[in-house]
Amino acid sequence: MLTKMNFSEVFKQSNQLCKVSPDGKYLATCVQYRLVVRDVSTLQILQLYTCLDQISHMDWSSDSLFILCAMYKRGLVQVWSIEQPDWHCKIDEGSIGLVSSRWSPDGRHILNATEFHLRVTVWTLCTKAVSYIKYPKACQKGIDFSRDGCYMALAERRDCKDYVSVFVCEDWHLLRHFETETQDLAGLEWSPNGCVLAVWDSCLEYKVLLYSLDGRLLSAYSAYDWSLGVKSVTWSPSSQFLAIGSYDEKVRILNHITWKKIAQFDHVASINSTKAVVYKEVEKRTAVCSDDLSLHNITIGSTLFNTQSKYEICPSPVQIPVVKPDPDRANPKIGVSSLAFSSDSRYLATKNDNMASVVWLWDMQKMSLVAVLEQTSAVRCFQWDPRRPRLALCTGNTKLYLWSPAGCVSVQVPTEGGLQVQSLSWHCSGDSLILLGKEQLCLCYMDQEDKSRLT
């Protein structure tokens, strides 16, 4: 795991809008109403575009040639071309308003959802044609494209009933339209192989339905009645498993052959497992001695006052700090809200909301807990390396944490002024990380050294 990490200097960004192009060459950031495109390796500014208003949402097209910038307040979408900086495109939704805007998988259509989700407008950059989709459902995840970009699943609600429409992205032909057996559809997601659509109900009813691409109901799964149900759902990259995180603090794994539960992961407050390694972040405050205040140290700046931390391995049994949520509030902070599979489907990382500072790592081969990371503050974001089983997470302080099966490390992000890492995202090659603060961003480049060179 010995990597050399180089941190870039800090750049400004607003709204946490900072994305790497799908081909991995460019980095686009938004600063107020400007769109800045940089080269990923040198961080030199390649293009600079100015939009008409503060940018609410920004996204790359799939072929990395275009960027869309949506300004929800003004109801505008502006599209910029990387190859031709003079090219411009402006979509004005007018009085109907704009709530969300996204690319289609082919990078030539833009889907805008109007205010109150009255309809979804499909604009095309190739022709003057416009398509409308009526009655889209406003829910947690009402629209999803299959990974190969061929099909789009859209949740609709008509006459107090939930429907799913499957469109062919090529020409927006409605392939299938079927009613779902949900009370209140909350989300849908394609499996990575594009053949199965998982549909889940809102938290008031635990129900996960699995539909085949042609609209047949393959299976329905419900773990229990009455208590609050599904909180998060995710597919494994190999399409073998569907992980369902629920409000009862458990994750249930369904297999793709029988669609029955094959494993259940409990997030217990007291861990007794001998096979799981519990890493606990321990802060060690560096004492500021007067002798050390040489010029060299002062130029480092605030890092002098930052606390160093390292991971300690705790012997079992380990007590996890639990925060009981307020029972009277809706959407209580309890249950498994974040699930992520590693790229090889070998590991699953989960976070239980009433143990917010703990990340749990499960081995999918043995179906058991393999590691637990207990941080000093609530975990804000974690993401797997797209190439290897390495997890990066941040807790809102100036540190970056990495876990891999070989071990765990806590890295201080060395920036002047202290970047509080609020979220992070990996570069598609897995060689660098983008760390986003409140209004700043920083890149971390990692060089994988050959093990032969190291002692």
Partner: protein
């Protein structure tokens, strides 16, 4: 009744015994009083006097006045006194009878009392038994009721918990519903407002797109009209993807099945081989008879299942799995038997086991020992024969002794010489170590002197040399130079050429000072100016840098 007569008799008998009556031959006790024949024989003509005195005595003993006085010898009897006496006696008698009656009555009363008490006692005992049994029964019932109460309390607690849980669920659902309701209401409000606004607003901005120029499709093809053909094509493509997915899955599963089948067959082969090897041992056991009989059948089955190349045949699969299960069960039972046997052996006394082994060993070893003894004897004989063929016994022994003496002396001398050598070597070793230590000290002193000299030399070279005068003693400098000349021929050249102070030379000299062996490692990261920090996780590079830093600082700070 008999007792009262007995009492009277006693009285009579006692009176008769203390004063022996003249009429001793008959005892008045044998004559019951209630019988009408009177004691006529008591007084006769010849014993009147005695009778009179006797009666007098008796009467006086009873407390009555005497009938007549003694001295009067006249036998005339005072009739009055006698009558009085008789009357008193009769009164006494009546009194006696009365007391007798009373006592009889009292005795009867007492007897009846006692009977009554006994009756009541038995009754009470029975009652006590009964009540004890009842008590036991009641206690038992109470215990059962207690248990029931406890179980009911548990049930109640469970029900309460469930109710609480359901209440919590209801509460959370209610709060969720309320939240959703409020959200929808807010959205509704916004919608209404928007609608109002739109109705009021005259100019309606229609959504429009403004593109500089249309761009080509991502795949370069032209878009097609939506026709039935395209629809069919889409359907076809969709089914194709589904079918290909099913195909791949089926292929994977076939492969997996084939692998598992191979594994099962291998396991079966191995189990078979194990069981066959155990057969001779198993023949002793009765329960294995069945097994042995069915074994050839099993082998046939196994062979059959292997011969069947059609892998997906259900029968073959079933046969395979059932045969594996059977063999596994057999192996398990065999292992269990072995375990139990081992335990039993362990439980037996140690003596028995060791005795057995010892006996076996002894049996094995005895003939060997005999053989060896025979060999030794023959060898001894031969040796002896060889040693003294021509000489007599004494000469032979003397000669053997002197050979031994010679050898002994030789060895002693050799030992002495070896020890001498050893002592010598140790002395030399000590000398060498001392010399080495002295040499290292001298070397160190030399190096220090050289360092001092070079330092002063360097300081003299700098433009600020006038401010600081080198504080070096002449003797030291002389020794330095002489040592430099003697030990290191190359360094004087360098010292001489230091007059033209180039930075290259300076660096060279500096590197020479701390440690000749260490080589400067390359800078760790290109473009990173600071040495102490680069956020690097790898430790060794940093350490090297620090060491370098420290050494440089030391030499430059003084």
């Amino acid at each position: 009744m008999p007792e009262s007569s007995l009492e009277v008799k006693d009285l009579c008998s006692s009176s008769v015994e203390c004063r022996p009556s003249p009429l001793g031959q008959f005892s008045p006790s044998s004559v019951p009083l209630h019988k009408k024949h009177i004691l006529a024989t008591f007084c006769k003509e010849h014993n009147v006097q005695e009778c009179m005195s006797h009666i007098n005595q008796e009467v006086s003993s009873l407390g009555l006045p005497p009938l007549w006085t003694e001295p009067s010898s006249s036998p005339e009897v005072n009739v009055m006194a006698v009558l009085n006496c008789m009357y008193d006696l009769i009164q006494l008698h009546h009194r006696g009878l009365r007391t007798l009656e009373n006592m009889e009555v009292e005795q009867l009363k007492y007897i009846s009392n006692v009977d009554y008490q006994q009756l009541t006692c038995t009754q009470l005992k029975e009652q006590l038994e009964l009540s004890k049994r009842e008590n036991a029964g009641l206690l038992e019932r109470e215990r059962q009721l207690h248990l029931k109460v406890k179980s009911l309390q548990n049930c109640l607690k469970n029900e309460k918990d469930e109710v609480q849980k359901l209440q919590n669920v209801i509460a959370s659902r209610a709060s969720q519903y309320n939240h959703e309701m409020k959200r929808k209401e807010r959205e509704f409000e916004k919608l209404k407002e928007r609608l109002n606004q739109l109705l009021v607003d005259k100019k309606e901005n229609k959504p429009a797109i403004d593109v500089l120029n249309h761009i080509g499709r991502a795949d370069g093809k032209r878009s097609l009209w939506k026709t039935q053909k395209t629809e069919a094509k889409h359907e076809g493509e969709m089914y194709k993807t589904l079918l290909s997915d099913y195909d791949t899955r089926q292929r994977e599963m076939l492969l997996e099945n084939a692998e598992l089948k191979k594994l099962l067959q291998q396991m079966e082969k191995e189990m078979n081989s194990i069981l066959r090897s155990k057969k001779p041992m198993l023949k002793e056991d009765k329960c294995q008879d069945d097994g042995i009989q069915t074994d050839p059948e099993e082998e046939e089955q196994v062979v059959d299942s292997r011969k069947e190349s059609v892998e997906h045949c259900v029968h073959a699969r079933e046969k395979l799995t059932s045969s594996i299960r059977l063999q596994w069960r057999r192996i398990k039972s065999h292992v269990e038997r072995l375990d139990s046997q081992a335990q039993m052996d362990a439980n037996k006394t140690d003596d028995a086991a060791s005795r057995e082994t010892r006996v076996q060993q002894m049996n094995r070893l005895k003939p060997e020992i005999r053989q060896c003894k025979g060999f030794i004897q023959t060898q001894q004989q031969l040796l002896q024969q060889q040693l003294r063929p021509p000489c007599e016994e004494e000469a032979a022994s003397l000669l053997s002794d002197c050979y031994m003496l010679q050898d002994e002396e030789r060895f002693r001398e050799e030992g002495k010489s070896v020890e001498e050598h050893k002592r010598f070597f140790e002395r030399e070793k000590g000398d060498f170590t001392e010399a080495a230590i002295r040499l290292s000290h001298e070397k160190k002193a030399f190096e220090d002197d050289r360092a001092m000299w070079l330092k002063h030399h360097f300081l003299n070279l700098s433009p600020f040399a006038d401010l600081k005068k080198p504080q070096m003693s002449k003797s030291k400098s002389c020794s330095l130079i002489s040592k430099a000349e003697s030990s290191d021929p190359s360094s004087p050249e360098k010292l001489n050429t230091c007059g033209s102070a180039t930075t290259a030379d300076l660096y060279d000299t500096l590197w020479l000072i701390p440690d000749k062996r260490s080589t400067k490692p390359k800078p760790t990261s290109v473009g990173e100016p600071s040495l102490l920090f680069n956020g690097s996780v790898s430790a060794p590079h940093n350490q090297g840098n620090d060491h370098e830093d420290n050494s440089i600082e030391n030499t430059s700070s003084t």
